[in-house]
Each structure stands twice: as structure tokens, then as C-alpha cells.
Assembly symmetry: C2
Homo-oligomer: 349 residues x 2
């Protein structure tokens, strides 16, 4: 199975596959400063909660390495990088969690530590975050695939695959696992307006991996459920609140409503690091409002009159009660409640 | 209120506002043969069930007028035109109904009728169909507006306005009526993938008419209902089956599911001619499957890899039980059942 590689860190530079140019061309973005990385995250050259977290971590490493090369203060550069990257995108918890870890490395370093050693420690921490996501991805795929029937017909939203992470993805990792096991019938890919991550990215990586798929507009999902053409809907998460409410790509709640109406399971697949126990409910999650242009134009084509007022939240909130199960690298949480999440994180579920 | 004019018949030529070029430019398509009209319908230069019906009727008139000018047999030309136009688009009943009326004019003409008189009779019949739709549009707007609260916040799908008809539209006629009465707060416009009729056409005509509106991706509708930001969803219909099932633009069923879940009324606004008592249920409606390109490209921008398999039905079916009321030019049908529809058509509802 050939999967695209979202990012790699080489000689103090973070190299990203530019997801804005896909599927037309596979271009790279070279980030040689924390500002470059923040810009890449903001403009969605890199996206997907886990990939954003890993990129941000490497963004701090890039800043440290550059400071070291120029004889600047590595500690100051790392802390400035953390601050600059923090606000790149507000909704996904992974960005915040990764930067907290990187900040912790700076805070924890001994005064006698050399600039070179601190730089090395920051690079090692970013690599550890990447390694965690890699392992988590495989485990999530295995865990989620267990819940699905043979000859499974699943629906996926947005891009939750290799391009959203550093390995096989979250929800899409389950699809790859099913395919490996010879248990996948077809994966239906919702195009995911407005950014079309389903059409542009998921169809691209499924095609590269040789996994049978069919693309549909988002609004067809409910009809497919009515026709009993779907066994489950698999989505990722940008943040899971303490009560189990899920913040994820806009359109997820609409799918959840259709799943509830048709008794189709809705599985949320995300690393345990996406669970934010400091965030009480979905109402406490900051929902990023993005530019009108994402809705009013596609490429060079304007699809709505100039000046049209647009409401363009990038995410929505799905109540915990509508989530059939949350699947992490640790296992399966069902039903999803504050108690079951706490137990899961404590390792006793 | 300034509304765009979808079509006009002048000197044996049907002139259409080319809806494929909107909102970027307002171009005209001149149809000087029935084949021209069939092509305009097929390629969606003109669309919207009522506008398709009126266009098809004028398509027969165009053929007759051209035959008369060239000394060809008007009767033969008209019947050939009926046949050529019949298959232009399969789902909307209006096309079929309009052609049945035009065919009836040919069948009913006396053998002694001159070619010029038959041509005139066909032109008069097309004009009568247009006049019916014009009157029906106003009446539908008045009838549907009665069901809506003051300061109404309504959601509309696809384009059901002036551009879909020859006057104010079907569902959008209610919005214009509310606006006239000073009772409209805002109309939320679903962009309506894949052809983006909401973004391209509805936003265009609402803007021209000065009606406050906000554009959203289709998958946001459910979240707006959860937030209690919508008082009703208004849609049109391409065909209403005898049992009340509604065939309409893809995405309608998804809205119906969300309406049911959130107890938001779903109003279907369509002329009584959209009710097809010969079609038992929604399962008997032919659903047009359109080209993959509608999903995989927007203008010159390819949004999915070449060769991606696509499922692209242009319409879906909403069960009668999920329709709060059907509003026609004659009045209001609720609940929508075979009996209430039959009574409505018999004029006793």
C-alpha cells in the first residue's frame, strides 16, 4: 500500500506536502522558520489534527535549529515559536497539546544545558510526538476495524488518512485495516465542502493505495443510509470534550443526525490525545470561522456573487449521545460519557 | 423588486438567460429549433421544473414557427419536437405535462386548420402554460407565507426562484412574499452541491431583489437547526408522487431528516401540476444520474483525481411523512397523503 507522506523533518527544515495543490500536483512547502510553519497551518498547506500537532512540534524544533545556527538564544527562539504557533488554528486540541510538550522541554531544561543539547532535546521531543502518532494510527485502525462487519460499506468525511496524520490516519486507518484484512467492500467518500478534503485528499490517497472508493456530495449521505447502503460512518475528531461532545469538520453533525435517524453506527476515531478533559462540553470549544472565499470561490471560479454574506464555521459539534463509540489507540469507549472517557484515560476501560 | 427574467419568446425564437454563466455574467442563449431547446434543458442553461416545462412548450412553438417559415409540415415538426424534448430531462413532471398539452393541441386540431393557425395555436398554448406558471407563482408565495412566523428565518435549497420559473418561483416566492410583507428576518441559502444553484443562482437573484440572505454549505443546515436559528425549510419539487413522496434536488432528503430530528417544519412549495397521480410512490420516479464532472470539477478546477468513481444522482426522494405541508397555487395540503392530494386536485381541500 502506497500512502503519501505528509511531512518530514530534514536538517532543521520541515518539508510539507502542499495539500492545497492536491490532487492536481504534489508540491512541497519548505518551512525554515516557525512563522513558515504557522503560515502553512493557517493556510492549510498542512491540515488534520494530528498532522497539525506534529508540524507545530517540528516548528519549534526548526526555530531552535535556526537560532543555534545563527548564534541566537535557542531558549528564547523556542518559546517565541510556541507563542507564534499557538494561534495558528484554534479548534484542534493536538496543536495545543504538542506545544505544551515542547514548552515543557524548554521549562525542564537545566541551566547548564548547552544550546545544542536543548536543540537536540526539542528535536527528540518532536520526533517522539511523531512516533506516538505513528503508533497510535496503526492501533486505532486495528481497534476500529474490529467494530465493522465483513464486506463493510463505510462512509468517511473530510480527510482522516495519511494526509491528516503521519501514518495511516485516524478514521481512514480503519478503512486501510479493513482493506488489508480483505473485509472492505467499498468506502464512500463525502466530498466535504467547503474545502473538499474528501474529493481532493481522501480520494487521492485511496486511489494511491488501491482502495475501492466512490465519491459523493455531502448531502447524499442520508439517502445512502435510507437505501441501507452503509454499515457505518467513520469520522475523526479535532477535539473531544470531557462530556464526550465531538468537535470535528463541519458536516459531521449532519451525518450524526442521519446516523441516528437510520440507526447507522457513528464511530469517532481519534488518538486519546484528542480528548480534552479541561474542556467541559462542546459549547466550550472555540469554533474557527474561516474566510468567505472558501464558499464563494473554487479555484479561479467564483460561484457566488461578490459581496455575498457567508457563514463558514470550519467545525461543528456532535453531542456525545449521538456517537456510537469513540475509538482511540487504547481501545473502544462506548457509550461516550464523562465517566467512560475518564476511565479510558486512566487506563481502566 | 428586480428579478432576472429566465426566458422570453420572440419572433419564433426562445431566448434564455444562460444559467451556467451566472453569477459571473448574464449571457443569453437563443434557441431557434427544438433541438436547441432540448440541448439547453439537458445542459442546464435553463433549469427548474416550471421553467423547463415552459421552455419545452415554447420549444414546440419554435419548431412550428420554423417549419411554417420554411414551408415544412407544421404538424410533423411539432410532433417531432415533442419527441425530441421529451427525453431532455427525466425527473421533473412539468416537462412531460407541458409536452402532453402541446401534443394535445396538435391532436385536437381540425384537418382544415391552416399551418399558420396551428402554429398560432401552439404559440398560444405555450403562452397559456407560461401564464399559468406566472399566476401559480404569486399564489404559491401568498399561500406559503401564511404558514411562516413574523421575523421568519428560513432555509432554502437549490434555486426555486425567478430563475427556476417564469415569475417569483415556488419556494422562493414565499420568501419574496414575506419580504414584501416586512416579515422576513433572513433567508439562509444552502449552496446546493454539486451544481451550486444556491450559491450561483439563488444568491444572485436575492441580491438583485435586495433580500437579506446568507450563504452556507449544505452540511451546515443541521447545526443551524440545533442552534434554533431556523423557523422552517422551504424546498420546491420536481415531482410529487400520488402517495405524497417528493422527488427534488439531491440534498432535500438530508434536510428532511434534519427537520424531523429538530422538529423544524419542512414545506414543499410546488404548482399542483407537479403532482403526478400516475406515479404511485417515490420509488417509481426515474432519478436522473448526471455526469461525474459535476462533482470532480468546478469550472476549470479539478477537485478530485482523474478516474475517481462518482455517484451523482441529481435528485432524491423524501417520504411524504416527513413533509409538514405541500403548498400549491390552490392552497395547503397537510398532512400529505394520497387522499389529501386527491382531494386537493379535485378542489375539495
Amino acid at each position: 500500500m502506497v500512502l503519501p507522506r505528509t511531512l518530514r523533518y530534514e536538517d532543521g527544515v520541515l518539508i510539507l506536502l502542499d495539500q492545497r495543490a492536491l490532487p492536481a500536483s504534489a508540491e512541497e512547502v519548505r518551512c525554515a522558520s516557525a512563522a513558515d510553519v504557522a503560515s502553512a497551518i493557517r493556510t492549510m498547506a498542512v491540515r488534520g489534527a494530528p498532522a497539525i500537532g506534529v508540524s507545530a512540534a517540528y516548528g519549534v524544533a526548526v526555530a531552535a535549529r535556526q537560532a543555534l545556527a545563527h548564534g541566537d538564544d535557542v531558549r528564547d527562539a523556542a518559546l517565541e515559536a510556541c507563542a507564534a504557533l499557538q494561534s495558528a488554528r484554534p479548534t484542534a486540541v493536538n496543536l495545543h497539546a504538542a506545544l505544551t510538550r515542547m514548552h515543557g522541554v524548554v521549562d525542564g531544561c537545566q541551566p547548564v544545558m548547552t544550546a545544542a543539547d536543548l536543540t537536540g532535546a526539542l528535536e527528540a521531543e518532536a520526533a517522539a510526538i511523531e512516533a506516538f502518532e505513528t503508533q497510535a494510527s496503526r492501533a486505532m485502525g486495528v481497534n476500529a476495524a474490529r467494530l465493522l462487519p465483513d464486506r463493510a460499506r463505510v462512509y468517511v468525511h473530510c480527510n482522516t488518512g495519511a494526509l491528516a496524520t503521519v501514518e495511516r490516519g485516524t478514521a481512514l486507518a480503519a478503512v486501510y485495516q479493513l482493506h488489508d484484512e480483505g473485509r472492505l467492500d467499498v468506502v464512500v467518500v463525502g466530498e466535504t465542502r467547503p474545502r473538499l478534503q474528501g474529493a481532493r485528499l481522501t480520494a487521492y490517497e485511496l486511489s494511491a493505495a488501491g482502495v475501492p472508493h466512490v465519491l459523493v456530495v455531502d448531502s447524499l449521505a442520508a439517502t445512502l443510509m435510507l437505501q441501507q447502503a452503509l454499515d457505518a460512518v467513520l469520522v475523526g475528531a479535532d477535539r473531544v470534550a470531557a462530556n464526550g461532545d465531538v468537535a470535528n469538520k463541519v458536516g459531521t453533525y449532519s451525518l450524526a443526525v442521519a446516523c441516528t435517524h437510520h440507526s447507522v453506527p457513528l464511530y469517532v476515531v481519534a488518538p486519546s490525545t484528542s480528548i480534552d478533559m479541561t474542556c467541559e462540553t462542546g459549547a466550550d470549544v472555540t469554533i474557527e470561522e474561516r474566510s468567505d472565499d472558501e464558499v464563494t470561490a473554487v479555484g479561479a471560479t467564483r460561484v457566488a456573487p461578490r459581496g455575498t454574506r457567508v457563514l463558514n464555521p470550519a467545525f461543528d459539534i456532535t453531542p456525545a449521545s449521538m456517537v456510537t463509540a469513540l475509538i482511540t489507540e487504547r481501545g473502544i469507549v462506548a457509550p461516550v460519557t464523562e465517566a467512560s472517557l475518564a476511565a479510558h484515560l486512566a487506563g481502566i476501560s
